[in-house]
Amino acid sequence: MILLLALISGLLVGLGWAGWQHRPYQAPALQSTWLAFVAFFPQIVVAYWPATRHLLPDWLASIALLISLILFAAFAWRNRHLPGMPILLAGLALNFIVIVANGGWMPISPQTASRLTGNDILGLMSLGSRFGQKDILLLSQNTHFEFLADRLLLPAWFPYQVAFSLGDVLVSLGIFWLLAHPSVKARIPPKERVHLDYI
C-alpha cells in the first residue's frame, strides 16, 4: 500500500505541475514495458492471488519470486536513464540482497510482526512460516542483513500499520521522483516554438 501511495503521490505532483505550466503530462518513456508484465506474473501466482498463493511449495514459490525480481531488475536497468530510476534500482538491490540471503523471502521478526497482527494471531504462527505476501517470520539473530529486513514501522498511533524495509523506502522515493519529474522541463516560449517549427 505504501508503495502505491508513493506512486499515486508522484503522479499527482507530476499532473499538478504539468497543469500549473499548462502543458500535457508526459509519461516516462519506458523501454521494454512488456518485461514488467512478464516479471509480475510469477508474483501474482505466488504472492498476490489468494487462490494460487499456497498451491506451490514454499521452496518453489521462493524460486519464482527470485526469477521475478531478476526480470524486474532487467526492466529497471533497461530504464536506468530515467530520473528516479537509479534510486529505485538501489532499493531493488537492497531488497534483493536481503531476500536472497534469507532463502528467497523478506524476513520480518516476531516483534515487528506483532505490531501488525497482534500477539494472539502471531501465536498461531511458527518461526520460518510465511507471513503476509512475501515475508517470512525469523528471529532477528537468525536473520542475515537484518538491517535490510522489514523492520521499519509507522508510529503506533498511526491508524494504518505496515512494516517496511530500507529498500522499500528507496523504491518509494524513486517511483515518486520518476512520476513527479517528467513534466518538470523548461517551457519553451511561444516565439521560440514557432521558430523551431520552421527548422
Binding site: M1, I2, L3, L4, A6, L7, L11, P24, Y25, A27, P28, L30, T33, A36, F37, A39, F40, Q43, Y48, S68, L69, F72, A73, F75, A76, L88, G91, L92, N95, F96, I99, M106, I108, T112, A113, R115, L116, T117, G118, F131, G132, Q133, K134, D135, D150, P159, Y160, Q161, V162, A163, F164, S165, G167, D168, V171, S172, I175, L178, L179
Partner: protein, 47 residues
C-alpha cells in the same frame, strides 16, 4: 440510446495514443514497485 452512443463516441475520440501510453506506463510502474517492494501490510485496525 443514440444519445448515449454519441457521447461514448465523443469520449472515445478524446482517448488518444498518449493517454494509452500513460496508462500502460503507470500500470508497468505499479507492477514494478509491487514486484520489487516487500512491505508487510497490517492494514487498519489490526493490532
Amino acid at each position: 440510446m443514440k444519445n448515449t452512443f454519441t457521447r461514448f463516441s465523443m469520449l472515445a475520440s478524446k482517448i488518444n495514443r498518449q493517454h494509452i501510453q500513460i496508462v500502460l506506463a503507470i500500470l508497468a510502474l505499479a507492477m514494478l514497485v509491487l514486484g520489487i517492494g516487500a512491505p508487510a501490510d497490517g492494514g487498519a485496525g489490526i493490532r
